[in-house]
C-alpha cells in the first residue's frame, strides 16, 4: 500500500510548474540582483540628488521620476535599484552566515551528543532568551553602526534557529539504518556527517533560509529606523519604507514600490529555494 502510494508520488513529480518556478525565480532575483550590482555605474550619485521641486511627485507624471519621488524629491526607482545593494547584501550574507554557523554547530551537537551538545544547546537557549533589540543596541553601542556589524549581529542572533533545526534532523537521521550501515563499515565520522546526514537535512534548512532573507531585509530597516543601522542617507529598501511611513496616506508610492521590491525578491528566493530543495532530492518529492 505504501509502495503504491510512493509510485504515484513519483509519477506526479517534476511537473512543469517546477520548471516555471525555477525560471521565474531566477529571472526575478537575477534582474534585481544584477541591477543592484551595476547600480553605481548607472547612478553615480547613489540616488541621493535632492530636488525639492519634485517633492512627493506621483508616479507616471514625469519621465524623470517614473515611479514618483520621495519627500525630498529623490527618484524612487533610482533609490530602489541602489537600495537593492544594501538590502541584498544584508539579507543574503546574514542568512548565509547564520545558516553556515548554525548548521555546523547543529550537526556536531546532534551527531556527537553528550557534553558538547548540552553546552552548545544551553548556550543556544541563552541566545534565544536575549531580546534582539537589546543585543543590537549593545553591539552597536560598543562597535558603532555599520553594514558589517549589522550582518554579524544578525548571524549572532539567528544561528540558533538553524542549529536547533539541524540538530533535530540529525538526532533522527543518526539512528537511520543507512547511517548505522556507514558506521558498520567504518566510514569516518566527518564523512558520515557531511555525506550521509547533511544532504538529508537540507530541505527544511533551505526553506528557513529563504524566509529569513526576507525577514532580515525588514530587520535592517527597523535597525536603520532606530538609528542603529546604516547611514540613513544611504538608500535601502527598509530605510525607504521607514521614511515613507508618515506619508502612507497621502503619497502611497513612497512605500508601495520599495515594498514591492522586497516582495518580488522574497518571492523569487522562495521559488529558487523550492526548486533547489526538490532538485537536491532524488525522489523529486513535492512537499508542503
Amino acid at each position: 500500500m505504501a509502495n503504491e502510494h510512493s509510485q504515484i508520488e513519483g509519477q506526479v513529480k517534476r511537473s512543469s510548474f517546477r520548471q516555471f518556478e525555477f525560471v521565474a525565480g531566477l529571472m526575478l532575483c537575477g534582474t534585481i540582483g544584477m541591477l543592484a550590482l551595476i547600480s553605481p555605474l548607472l547612478f553615480p550619485d547613489g540616488g541621493q540628488s535632492v530636488n525639492l521641486l519634485a517633492r512627493l511627485m506621483p508616479p507616471l507624471q514625469s519621465s524623470e521620476y517614473p515611479l514618483g519621488a520621495d519627500p525630498l524629491g529623490r527618484d524612487i526607482l533610482t533609490r530602489i535599484i541602489v537600495g537593492g545593494r544594501v538590502s541584498f547584501t544584508v539579507g543574503i550574507l546574514s542568512a548565509l552566515g547564520a545558516v553556515t554557523l548554525g548548521t555546523v554547530i547543529g550537526l556536531f551537537a546532534g551527531y556527537y551528543r553528550g557534553f558538547a551538545d548540552a553546552l552548545l544547546m544551553r548556550f543556544a537557549d541563552i541566545q534565544l532568551a536575549l531580546p534582539f533589540i537589546l543585543l543590537a543596541i549593545t553591539i552597536i553601542a560598543i562597535f558603532g553602526p555599520g553594514l558589517d556589524r549589522i550582518i554579524i549581529l544578525m548571524i549572532v542572533s539567528q544561528w540558533v534557529q538553524y542549529a536547533r533545526l539541524v540538530r533535530g534532523s540529525v538526532l533522527s537521521l543518526r539512528e537511520r539504518e543507512f547511517v548505522q550501515a556507514a558506521r558498520s563499515y567504518g566510514l569516518a565520522n566527518s564523512k558520515i556527517i557531511f555525506r550521509h546526514i547533511l544532504p538529508n537535512a537540507l530541505g527544511p534548512l533551505i526553506i528557513l533560509m529563504t524566509l529569513n532573507v526576507a525577514n532580515n531585509i525588514l530587520l535592517e530597516s527597523s535597525l536603520t529606523f532606530l538609528g542603529l543601522g546604516v547611514d540613513p542617507r544611504v538608500a535601502s529598501w527598509g530605510g525607504m519604507l521607514a521614511e515613507g511611513r508618515n506619508y502612507a496616506q497621502s503619497a502611497w508610492w513612497v512605500t508601495v514600490f520599495p515594498g514591492l521590491a522586497i516582495m518580488m525578491t522574497v518571492l523569487g528566493l522562495n521559488m529558487l529555494g523550492d526548486w533547489l530543495r526538490d532538485n537536491l532530492d532524488p525522489l523529486g518529492r513535492t512537499r508542503l
Partner: protein, 633 residues
C-alpha cells in the same frame, strides 16, 4: 458456502445480487489512484462473498491490493488519494435498516456503519491507538458514539470487552495509556475496541505481523475464539500463508490488484490450481519440512539464478576441523536508564548477559529470539556499533576490543552488517553505485574511481542485477532488489563474516526465498560465515547449520539445527517452536491448540538486581542447554 467454493469469474454481470447466506457481497470492484484514478489500478474487477461466522483470508504480496480492498469497503480509499471506479458492495445494514451498496453511500451514512457494523484492526498496534488518551476513553468513545450510552455505562461495557480479550486486570487498564502496554496488549485493546459494537464484519489487516510469534499465537487464538462467541465474519488480510492456514475458512489469493484464485482453505493451500499460488506456496518456508536433513537447502523458486546447478543441496560447513573464526566470550551489554534530578542510574537494561558463542568458517549460525532477547545487541557489538560492558569478541584469534581504535578498523572490513529495512539502509541521496563503492573506498580496497566502478558492476551482476543499475537511486528499486544491493555493498570488501540482522524479514515470501537462495549460493562460493539474526524459526530451519536461542539477554540453548529443532531441550525453545504457525489446513477445525499465556518479560532491572547467569551444560556433542527454569511471567 456454495458460492465461495465456486470462484466468481470477472465476466459476471455487473447487476448485483447477493446470495442469501452472504453477509457481504462484493462485485467487480475496481479502485484506481492518481488523476481520475487512471494512473494506477490498485484493485481490478474483484468479487467475493463473505458468509456469516466465517473467515475469508485475502492473501497476496505487497502491492497486490489486499489492503486497498478492505479500505474500499469502509469508504476510506479517497483518504489515500484513490477512488472506487466500479463495482458494488452489498451489505445488510442494521443501522440503516436496509440492504445498501457500501460504494454508493454518503459519507454520513458510512460513518454510522464504520466502527459499528464493520470495524477494523490495523497492523501497527503502536500507532493505531492515540497516545494521549487512555485505553478506556478510546474504547468508550466508540460505544458512546454508536450506541448512545452514557459515559458510566460505556466504561462498564469497556471493562467487559477488555475482559473478553483476556486482558488481565482490566479495571486498571481502563485508565492506562497506550505506552504503558506491551505490543500484544495493545493489539488486544484494539480488538476490544473493534468488537465493542458487536460488528457483523471484522476486518483484520495484518494484525499480527508486528508481533512476536508467541504473542502472535495468542492474538490469533483470541480472534478465533471471539469469532466463535460473537458470530462475527472476519476478513483476514495477510501475507503469511502459515497464519492464513491456521485462521481461514476460505482463501482469496490476489496479485497486482486481481484475484488469482479463490476457494476453501484446504483447496487453495493443498491443491492450488494457479501457477502463481503454487509458486507462492513453494516459497513459504515450512517448519518441520527439514526433518532428518543436516544441511541447509535452497528454495525451489522460479527465477532462480542460473549459476545453481543443484538446487536441493545447500551450502556446507566443515566445523570440528577448524578453530572458530569469530568467538564471543562472556559478552555483556547493559544500557543505563537514568532518572530523576541528578540523572542517577536507577535501572539497567540487561540486553546481553554472558553470551559466549562461536562462529566457524563457512557456516550459518542463527541467533534467534523474540523482541528484547538481545540478539541484535550481540550482532551490533560484534560489528563495533556498540561497546560491550564486559566480555570479549575474538576474530581470527585477536581480541577486537583490546586493540587500539585504529587497529580495529580492519574488522569493519572483515565483518559486514546487513540491516533489516532495505528501504532505510541505503542513503536516498546517493546512487546505488556510490553506496556500494563506499566501503571499498573507505578501506582503500579500490584505489581509483574507475576501479571501484568496475567492482560495483561485477558485484551487481553477482547479486542478480545489471551493472547499469549503479547509476540509479534506491527509490527506483523494489524491496528485494534493494536488499540485493545491500548484499553487494557488504560483499565489496570481500568479508569473512556477514551479520544479517533480520535481513529478509521485511521482504515478501517469494522475494525472501530468492534473497535467501542468493545468500546461500554466495556462502557456497566464498566460504562466507553468516551470523543470521532473526525471529523467524521457519527460515532458520531452512538456512542454518547451527542455532543459538536467546531469551532475556542470555543464551538458553545452542546446537546444530537438527539438535535444536528435532530435539529441543529448553522450555523456551519448545515454546517458541510451538508458537510458529503451521501451514497444514488438513488438520481441520480442531487444528488449533491454545497457546501459552503470558507476556515476554522486560530485560530492564533495577540497579543491584542482577539476573542469575544461566549455566549451559552439554547434553550431546555440540548441544548445550541452559539448566535454568523458564518462567513465563
Amino acid at each position: 458456502m456454495q458460492e465461495l467454493t465456486t470462484p466468481l469469474t470477472s465476466t459476471n454481470t455487473v447487476t448485483a445480487s447477493k446470495p442469501a447466506s452472504a453477509i457481504l457481497s462484493l462485485r467487480n470492484l475496481s479502485v484506481g489512484f492518481g488523476q481520475n484514478g487512471k494512473s494506477v489500478r490498485a484493485v481490478e474487477d474483484l468479487s467475493f462473498d463473505l458468509a456469516m461466522n466465517k473467515t475469508l483470508a485475502i492473501v497476496g504480496e505487497s502491492g497486490s491490493g489486499k489492503s486497498i480492498t478492505s479500505l474500499a469497503l469502509l469508504g476510506l480509499v479517497h483518504h489515500l488519494g484513490g477512488s472506487v471506479l466500479n463495482g458494488s458492495a452489498l451489505f445488510n445494514s442494521r443501522v440503516l435498516g436496509r440492504e445498501v451498496d457500501l460504494n454508493s453511500l454518503s459519507e454520513k451514512e458510512l460513518r454510522k456503519i464504520r466502527g459499528d457494523e464493520i470495524s477494523m484492526i490495523f497492523q501497527e498496534p503502536m500507532t493505531s491507538l492515540n497516545p494521549v488518551y487512555t485505553i478506556g476513553t478510546q474504547i468508550s468513545e466508540t460505544l458512546m458514539l454508536h450506541r448512545g450510552v452514557s459515559a458510566a455505562e460505556a466504561r462498564r461495557l469497556t471493562k467487559d470487552y477488555l475482559d473478553l480479550v483476556r486482558l488481565p486486570d482490566a479495571l486498571r487498564l481502563l485508565d492506562a495509556y497506550p505506552h504503558q502496554l506491551s505490543g500484544g496488549m495493545r493489539q488486544r485493546a484494539m480488538i476490544a475496541m473493534a468488537l465493542s459494537c458487536q460488528p457483523k464484519i471484522l476486518i483484520a489487516d495484518e494484525p499480527t505481523t508486528a508481533l512476536d510469534v508467541t504473542i502472535q499465537a495468542q492474538i490469533l487464538h483470541i480472534i478465533r475464539e471471539l469469532q466463535a462467541e460473537l458470530g462475527t465474519a472476519v476478513i483476514f488480510i495477510s501475507h503469511d500463508m502459515s497464519v492464513v492456514s491456521e485462521m481461514a475458512d476460505d482463501v482469496l489469493v490476489m496479485k497486482s490488484g486481481r484475484m488469482v484464485e479463490q476457494g476453501s482453505v484446504e483447496k487453495v493451500l493443498l491443491n492450488p490450481e494457479q501457477e502463481y499460488t503454487q509458486a507462492l506456496l513453494a516459497a513459504v518456508p515450512q517448519i518441520g519440512s527439514m526433518k532428518g536433513q543436516s544441511k541447509p537447502k535452497f528454495f525451489m523458486v522460479p527465477g532462480l539464478s542460473e549459476g545453481t546447478t543443484n538446487p536441493s543441496s545447500g551450502p556446507q560447513a566443515d566445523h570440528n576441523t577448524k578453530a572458530p573464526l569469530l568467538e564471543t566470550k562472556g559478552l555483556t551489554k547493559r544500557f543505563d536508564i537514568r532518572k530523576g534530578l541528578f540523572s542517577r542510574i536507577t535501572h539497567r537494561v540487561h540486553a546481553a548477559e554472558q553470551v559466549s558463542l562461536q562462529l566457524y568458517p563457512g557456516e550459518t549460525l542463527a541467533l534467534v529470539g523474540e523482541s528484547g532477547s538481545g540478539k541484535s545487541t550481540v550482532g551490533k557489538t560484534i560489528q563495533q556499533l556498540i561497546e560491550p560492558t564486559s566480555g570479549e569478541v575474538h576474530f581470527d584469534g585477536q581480541s577486537i576490543f583490546k586493540l587500539p581504535k585504529l587497529a580495529r578498523q580492519r574488522f569493519r572490513r572483515e565483518i559486514q552488517y546487513i540491516f533489516q529495512d532495505p528501504y532505510g539502509s541505503l542513503n536516498p541521496r546517493l546512487t546505488v553505485g556510490q553506496s556500494i563503492m563506499e566501503p571499498a573506498l573507505t578501506h582503500g580496497i579500490a584505489t581509483s574511481k574507475v576501479e571501484a566502478e568496475n567492482m560495483v558492476g561485477a558485484l551487481l551482476e553477482k547479486v542478480g542485477l545489471q551493472p547499469e543499475h549503479a547509476q540509479r537511486y534506491p527509490h527506483e528499486f523494489s524491496g528485494g532488489q534493494r536488499q540485493r544491493i545491500c548484499i553487494a555493498r557488504a560483499l565489496i570488501c570481500d568479508p569473512k563474516v556477514i551479520i544479517a540482522d533480520e535481513s529478509v524479514s521485511a521482504l515478501d515470501v517469494s522475494v525472501q526465498a530468492q534473497v535467501l537462495n542468493l545468500m546461500m549460493q554466495l556462502q557456497q562460493e566464498r566460504a562466507l560465515s553468516y551470523l543470521f539474526i532473526t525471529h523467524d524459526m521457519a527460515v532458520v530451519e531452512r538456512v542454518a547449520h547451527r542455532v543459538a536461542v536467546m531469551y532475556l539477554g542470555q543464551l538458553v540453548e545452542i546446537g546444530s539445527r537438527q539438535q535444536v529443532f528435532e530435539n529441543p531441550q529448553h522450555d523456551y525453545t519448545k515454546r517458541l517452536l510451538d508458537a510458529v504457525p503451521h501451514m497444514d489446513p488438513s488438520r481441520g477445525p480442531g487444528r488449533f491448540k491454545p497457546p501459552l499465556e503470558g507476556e515476554i518479560p522486560s530485560p530492564m532491572r533495577a540497579v543491584g538486581n542482577e539476573p542469575a547467569i544461566n549455566k549451559l551444560e552439554q547434553i550431546a556433542p555440540g548441544h548445550f542447554v541452559s539448566q535454568s527454569d523458564f518462567i513465563p511471567s
